[in-house]
């Protein structure tokens, strides 16, 4: 592979992995509090539409990102009301959110389908962007790419180095014990769910405002579901989420690899497009083969409703 092609592939991989990182890290925090929200696809779609519409009307991509964040969190709170307060089945409530979100996004987004936003120029970091091969790929990126790295460090610090993170993990492992020593389980779960929704909304905003500055129905294309699979694949650990997200980002831009390797084989484009979905199945199988891996790593109360008695 030539040098500038290597840079191009790495650049595209990082870009493609970014919405997955944003969404999956949010879901990871969400699930660490013991709540399984399968609605990521819907939250990303609503976030993408809200961000696009806001950026279009205000002219500011950043207001767009903010709108995506708020819209994602709002959707998540609807789920939270069902799953936490009313203790509805979390799987069913999450599916409802996924279906409803995708439908709502299609409905609201219809008038915006033929529009495009101006491309947002990347931010070139001084000095390190000049590193050969890597610099252009890693340090001449959209601000949200850098934000996804900051989010990674923040989540890492929060979960493993802060008291609040310890409490959140306790709520996910044993809500009854956390409640008994006086932690507000319900409030913490609501906050975790809202955070997961907000990050999925930002992930959606990245797609519609930065990645391909437009909105098309179905443009989230299963990324929400892939992010959910990533959290399992990463056995609920942030570093593995990052690695997994870039792995999937690489799979998503696989047509670049094919060109890069100089392959002249005429693949049907549908075959390459199906690779991320097939790869998701393969990694799920790989990580689930040993039941102990999942059992030991998943938050103990994941998916189980909890209602404080008093």
């Amino acid at each position: 592979m030539e040098g500038n092609l290597f840079t191009a592939v790495l650049f595209a991989t990082v870009v493609a992995g970014t919405p997955l990182i944003l969404t999956a890290l949010g879901l990871l925090v969400n699930e660490r509090a013991g709540v399984l929200n399968l609605g990521a696809e819907g939250m990303m779609a609503v976030g993408a539409v809200a961000a696009f519409a806001t950026a279009h009307h205000s002219g500011s991509p950043w207001l767009g990102v903010l709108a995506g964040l708020v819209a994602g969190a709002a959707m998540a709170l609807v789920f939270g009301f069902l799953a936490i307060t009313l203790q509805a089945n979390q799987v069913a409530s999450g599916l409802a959110l996924a279906i409803c979100g995708v439908g709502l996004a299609a409905f609201v987004g219809k008038p915006y389908e033929s529009l495009a936003l101006p491309a947002v120029p990347p931010i070139r970091l001084p000095f390190i962007a000049d590193i050969p091969l890597l610099g252009e790929a890693l340090y001449n990126q959209q601000a949200l790419v850098y934000a996804s790295w900051a989010l990674f460090w923040a989540v890492l610090y929060f979960l493993y180095r802060s008291r609040a993170g310890l409490v959140l993990r306790a709520v996910g492992e044993s809500p009854a014990a956390a409640h008994a020593i006086g932690h507000p389980v319900v409030l913490i779960r609501y906050l975790a769910v809202a955070f997961g929704g907000a990050m999925a909304g930002v992930g959606g905003a990245f797609l519609s405002v930065f990645y391909t500055p437009m909105w098309v129905e179905g443009m989230v294309a299963g990324r929400g579901w892939i992010a959910l699979a990533l959290v399992v694949f990463a056995t609920w650990r942030p570093l593995r989420v990052m690695l997994g997200a870039y792995l999937f980002g690489g799979v998503m831009v696989s047509q670049l690899f094919v060109q890069g390797a100089g392959l002249q084989i005429d693949f049907p484009s549908q075959f390459l497009s199906s690779l991320p979905y097939l790869a998701t199945i393969v990694v799920l199988v790989a990580i689930s083969r040993n039941p102990a891996t999942i059992r030991l790593n998943s938050p103990l109360s994941l998916g189980k409703p909890y209602r404080p008695d008093a």
Partner: protein, 356 residues
């Protein structure tokens, strides 16, 4: 002050009232939505609920749309009963259409009476085979069937797209992504002259009856229900979890495959890349709103079909995107899940102490 008090046991009455409550709330929310969009709510609801039913043709279209929903939801409900979350009916539906189309294209201009039964079998088997992938990965590798079956929806969509853009494309089709129109022997007969309502409706009704017999009158169905309601009891009784998973997914896949077959051999008459209107996903809602019971699924699929047709009406007469139907469908499921709280709790007035 209002508060929720746990019922001593789940309310059977509320189990069936909750979908009605959800339907009423969805309509109310729909009226509010129309008002917010600056449209007349009464006119919007009339287009959604009354206009589609005003004549025989409207009724036939309702049953036509309800057919794939009924079939997919019936199959899904068998799995859902046992906590097998197959959410990939959309993909199994597409594979059923692909299997049936393969046989129709192979038979070509043949006028044999075996073409339709062959397509039926091909559709059901192809749908079941697609569902067998998550079943095998779940039983053999413990892979989550929700994510696997969902991923296969995208793969199925791409497979259909490859077929109709590539090897199966109609050479005389002006490059449209579609196959040739099927020969008459590969089309399901129409039930009522002058409408598009076809034999597939009878498949769906037969599937509902078969599902009822299976779930409530057979030992295998009993095992499925126990596995869902009391997993520990099922394990203790020695019911095979593996068999439950296979049964749940294969039933769902075969029924969805049959629905896909009925769609290409019925109203479409060919395979195109705009095959499904999301029937496989809507069927999840139908299964829940229908309380996973065949009778409930029958009624719920009529309601959901009404929402589909209402969406088209609103698009035509009010100039709103027909995806408003998706919003209504999603709202229906949300309200149902919310209303279900009354199955386990009742509303009480007054404070906690006064009630205790």
């Amino acid at each position: 002050m209002l508060r929720l008090e746990a019922r001593p046991q789940a309310s059977r009455l509320m189990t069936w009232l909750s979908p009605l409550l959800a339907a009423v709330l969805t309509l109310a929310a729909g009226g509010v939505l129309f008002a917010l969009l600056g449209k007349d709510p009464a006119e919007g609801l009339r287009l959604f609920l009354i206009a589609p039913l005003k004549d025989l043709y409207g009724l036939s279209e309702l049953l036509l749309k309800a057919t794939p929903l009924m079939l997919c939801a019936t199959g899904l409900a068998i799995g859902f009963r046992a906590n097998i979350w197959n959410i990939g009916a959309e993909g199994q539906f597409m594979l059923g259409a692909v299997g049936a189309t393969g046989i129709a294209l192979w038979a070509g201009e043949s006028e044999s009476a075996l073409v339709l039964p062959g397509m039926l079998l091909g559709g059901a088997l192809a749908g079941a085979a697609w569902a067998a992938i998550p079943a095998w990965l779940k039983t053999r590798f413990n892979a989550n069937e929700i994510l696997v079956s969902l991923m296969l929806v995208y793969v199925a969509q791409l497979l259909v797209s490859w077929l109709v853009f590539g090897p199966w494309k109609d050479p005389q089709g002006f490059n449209f992504p579609q196959t040739v129109m099927f020969a008459d022997a590969a089309l399901l007969p129409v039930l009522v002259d002058g409408t598009r309502l076809h034999l597939g409706l009878l498949f769906a009704l037969a599937a509902l009856v078969a599902a009822y017999v299976f779930m409530y009158r057979s030992h295998a169905g009993f095992r499925m229900r126990v596995a869902g309601e009391a997993p520990d009891a099922a394990r203790y009784a020695g019911f095979s979890a593996r068999r439950t998973i296979w049964t749940g997914l294969l039933c769902g896949g075969a029924a969805a495959g049959l629905a896909g077959m009925a769609e290409v051999a019925g109203p479409m008459g060919q395979l195109t890349d705009k095959l499904s209107l999301g029937y496989g996903f809507a069927a999840i809602i139908v299964a829940f709103v229908g309380r996973l019971h065949p009778l409930g699924i029958f009624l719920a699929s009529l309601l959901m079909a009404l929402l589909y047709i209402g969406g088209e009406q609103v698009q035509q007469y009010m100039n709103l995107p027909n995806s408003i139907a998706l919003v209504f469908q999603g709202l229906l499921l949300f309200f149902l899940l919310g209303a279900d709280v009354f199955i386990r709790y009742r509303l009480r007035f007054g404070s906690e102490a006064a009630g205790a």
